[in-house]
Amino acid sequence: MSLKEYVLRRSLETIATFFILITIGFFLFRVMPGDPTAILLLNPHITPEAREILRRQLGLNKPLHIQYFYYIKNFIMGEFGYSFYGGRPVIKLIFSYRLINTIVLVGSSTILAIIFGVLLGALAALRRTSRLDILLLVFSLTFNSMPSFWLSMLLLLIFGVYFGLFPLGGTVSINVGNDIISYIMDYLWHITLPVIVLTLIQIGYNFLIARTVLIDVLTENFILTARAKGLPERLVLLRHALKNAMLPLITIIALQLAGIFTGAMITETVFSWDGLGTLLYEAVDMRDYPLLQGLYAIITIVFLIANYVTDILYAFIDPRVRYGSG
């Protein structure tokens, strides 16, 4: 199969998968027990009649297949509808400052975690069983298995309350200046702790994978040959080892980058960082179907694109992939 054919084939597959997934999503949310008006039970200042009125207004009394038909129709027309509780178009709620907040927070920490994780992983693989390797292993395993909620709280307590160095939540101060520089400074000041938490927690994963993959490659015969040829260690690592370790690394990196769009629910909540993670959580919590569907569709798209790009990259880097899949 030529590269072109392969790309085309994968494109069609991706589109088909997408429609299957959003259909599953639609029914999944409605199979979940409870209905959107249950949230009213949590508001002590609401009358008992309100629930019945709301259910009618939200169109929840219509048959499921009719609701599904409208969903697909609106979807094709790029309409995601109005959020049940936000009262605003779903698109406006998602493509807003929330998306930016999430991309900045999760994006920067994911990239930092990938860079540090892979670099340290390579280092540890090279110096396998040295003291440094053990130290790094312990470090990454510790943070990888630490609950992010707990780590966040700990950092908030130490650096936010006891040392008073950082604010306890939000993206900017209430009294932030109007000029762009002080706004950015203030934003960076607020983002420091959540970025540290997310980076520390994600580093371990990248580190462990990079280390394992490289150790695998480094024990291959062709590395032995390279060393026997008298190549300097650097060239062995670069020309022979890293290049062969690229394939598995690309997959995990692509999926992690796609994961940026799902946000970081727990960390966002603890630091009151208003991003997509908390939006998703609240949408599930309130059974806000239109918002839930919008978010789900966007997350699906991002992951499908990530998968698609990875597959194409694979085929590009390693021609065996496209021949093999034929």
């Binding site: 979940m32 027990p33 409870g34 209905d35 249950a38 949230i39 949590l42 002590p44 200042h45 609401i46 009358t47 008992p48 009649e49 309100a50 019945e52 009125i53 709301l54 259910r55 207004q57 509780y85 936000g86 009262g87 605003r88 807003s96 400052y97 929330r98 670099l119 390579a122 280092l123 090279l126 709280m153 908030l156 936010g160 309350v161 040392f163 008073g164 160095l165 604010p167 306890l168 939540g169 939000g170 993206t171 900017v172 101060s173 209430i174 009294n175 200046g177 002080s182 400074m185 000041w189 650097r234 670069l238 020309r239 966002e268 909540t269 603890v270 630091f271 009151s272 208003d274 590009f316």
Partner: protein
């Protein structure tokens, strides 16, 4: 890109990567050491100089748990929206600390003897935030508007109003299509919209729910219609308001919305023309969002906020109480934790069995041991906060296993086969299941304790923790349950009592999932809703409570304390059921002394400048150490 080119690029990348790794290897220990030394010395040195940066002392900052969901006042489905409406809009009545409606915008009121006509006289000095005077025409307009668009939060309050008659600017007469004795309570709790804004909203938005009064485009569209159709003096005032604040959320309340950052905070300033002179006492009010209760507590502790809206997590209460800057008030919540019983169940339809279960619940142990004393036992069918309406003479089911056993014996439920579990007269094991909400460990644990207690009286109970929505679905929609435990407010309020336990509400999604059917209760409910005389009505409601206490469709168990910790320098906090943060606190709160305002830039600058010498010393020391280390490693 050709393969050769790709190869070259990837070669370059991996080459530099490799160099970086090699360098890193040399520098890593040094760099880590440097970082460690730098951070610890700076932190140790800086510590005493840092003050929590707080806003001006005339500003009250409240930690909210979530940002408002909907800026449109027609929608108020969530608690978060309620908090904003509470202070930016105004009402005819406000709920006082004894949970009774207190005349607020309304000066006096009168009901006709048949309860079909209600006359309200309002104050004369109230003005909207934009300076337009308030008249009862605004109220009349709001009622008509709500009748037309039926917002879920407001429509139930006014649905019996047939006709609104404006007598003069400050007197309005409401004609009802059926006697509705709770009119004061209901109309008093209904938001009033400014007619001079909202009558024009439907001209732009066919569906006024889609109007966002905080959105620039929406605001300018509505403003354009006001310019065209409203009298020019009104337009001038509205325009001036929009120019100043940028929104159309114009209310009557003690605070004017002045700024917001979506998802993070809402800023309000004192309404200088508020009709109650001298209120509010602070010049600014800020709702700042901290989504996590622990983070809210930390924010109060640090002084970033003055009071928290959520209750203190149990784990930190002891710590909070030992902090001399904090007050930890324990006010009963408005929610009551209760056990609901399915009276249509073949076992539970026997009143004696329900009574036996009520006697087998050790409420003292629940509140003292399980809830660490942070709750009080509940025994009444109306929240004790409504002291006027609570029947004092209803039976109380104290923890008494002997009595419980006797009741079961009387019911004919005996352990025939001697396996420790009683059998029904038909010979089946008395085996029950309780649904507990899995997200609340306290209630799951109550389920466990009940398993233990009921086993002592020969009832086999199993505890099934389920998520909130499943619980609501099984109980309220499907009626597929035997027992469950939940916290709720509505069915413990005197005016709703009649709407919960009546037979007509036993339907999917209805308010009587217990299947409670009692003809006398139904009659009393109807009668009480038609009795204008308050003391007579109180007697009827007391009789209804007596029936409930005798029939036991539910068992009240506990009322948690809602512990909204606040800073000690915050004065004027008013306690009431529901917590220390309430309307009265928001308008009464003030501070003892003036504080300094400090921004983040200033605080960091001041820290840096006062510690310049030690910081430089630390940096030099760290660099020296690293260089020495590096040399040594090279020599090796």
């Amino acid at each position: 890109m050709s393969y050769r080119k790709t190869y070259k690029v990837s070669y370059e990348i991996s080459n530099s990567l490799g160099r970086l790794i090699e360098k890193l290897e040399d520098w890593l220990p040094g760099a880590v050491l440097l970082l460690l030394i730098l951070s610890t010395t700076s932190i140790l040195l800086l510590l005493p100089n840092i003050n929590a940066s707080t806003e001006s002392k005339q500003t009250l900052i409240v930690a909210m748990i979530k940002y408002i969901k909907n800026p449109n006042p027609l929608k108020q489905e969530t608690w978060y929206d309620w908090w904003l409406n509470l202070v930016t809009y105004d009402y005819l009545f406000r709920i006082d600390t004894n949970l009774e409606p207190k005349p607020w915008l309304c000066k006096s009121f009168k009901a006709s003897s048949d309860g079909l006509t209600w006359t309200f006289v309002t104050v004369k000095n109230a003005t909207w935030h934009d300076g337009v005077p308030f008249t009862v025409r605004d109220l009349a307009f709001s009622i008509e508007f709500f009748k037309k668009y039926q917002p879920s939060a407001w429509y139930p309050n006014i649905m019996y109003i047939d006709k609104v008659e404006v007598v003069n600017d400050y007197t309005v007469r409401l004609h009802l299509n059926k006697t509705f004795v709770w009119m004061v309570r209901r109309i008093g709790d209904t938001i009033i919209l400014p007619e001079h804004i909202w009558r024009y909203v439907p001209e732009v938005f066919e569906d006024p729910y889609k109007f966002n009064p905080l959105d620039k485009d929406d605001v300018s569209k509505v403003l354009a219609v006001i310019k065209e159709k409203a009298p020019s003096d009104i337009y001038t005032k509205v325009k001036a308001f929009v120019d100043k604040y940028g929104h159309l959320r114009i209310g009557l309340g003690p605070f004017i919305l002045t700024g917001w950052k979506e998802g993070e905070f809402i800023e309000m300033s004192k309404n200088p023309n508020y009709f109650r002179k001298g209120y509010p006492k602070v010049s600014k009010l800020i709702y700042k969002v901290y989504k996590d209760p622990q983070a809210q507590y930390l924010a109060v502790k640090k002084g970033e906020v003055h009071i928290m809206v959520w209750t203190l997590p149990y784990a930190v209460i002891e710590e909070a109480e030992s902090d001399e800057n904090l007050v930890v008030p324990k006010d009963p919540d408005v929610y009551v934790g209760f056990i609901g019983l399915n009276t249509k169940d073949p076992i539970l339809n026997n009143k004696l069995v329900r009574k036996a279960i009520a006697h087998a619940i050790n409420k003292t142990e629940i509140v003292e041991t399980l809830m660490l004393g942070l709750a009080m036992p509940a025994n009444t069918y109306i929240h004790p906060g409504y002291s006027k309406w609570v029947a004092k003479d209803i039976p109380i089911y104290e923890f008494n296993l002997t009595k419980a056993t006797q009741l079961l014996d009387m019911a004919g439920f005996k352990d025939i086969d001697g396996d420790g579990i009683r059998e029904t007269p038909e010979g089946n094991d008395v085996s029950l299941e309780i649904l507990t909400p899995s997200y609340d460990p306290v209630r799951v644990r109550i389920g466990d304790l009940m398993v233990e207690w009921l086993s002592k009286i020969g009832i086999k109970l199993s505890n099934k923790p389920v998520d909130f929505d499943t619980l609501v679905d099984e109980v309220s929609n499907k009626h597929n349950f035997q027992l469950y435990i939940i916290e709720s407010a509505g069915n413990f309020e005197p005016w709703f009592l009649a709407t919960y336990y009546v037979s007509s509400q036993y339907k999917p999604g209805g308010r009587n999932p217990w299947g409670f059917t009692n003809a006398t209760f139904n009659e009393l409910a109807e009668l009480s809703d038609a009795t204008i005389d308050e003391s007579e009505r109180r007697e009827l409601i007391a009789r209804m409570q007596r029936i409930l206490a005798n029939e036991v469709p539910i068992i009240p168990v506990y009322i948690r304390y809602w512990i909204q910790a606040y800073r000690k320098d915050l004065k004027g906090v008013v306690s009431m059921p529901g917590g220390a943060l309430n309307f009265w606190t928001l308008i009464n709160a003030h501070f003892v002394e003036e504080g300094k305002e400090q921004t983040m830039g200033q605080s960091i600058l001041s820290i840096l400048s006062s510690n310049l010498v030690p910081i430089i010393a630390a940096v030099i020391a760290a660099i020296v150490i690293v260089i020495v280390l590096k040399r040594r490693s090279k020599m090796v």
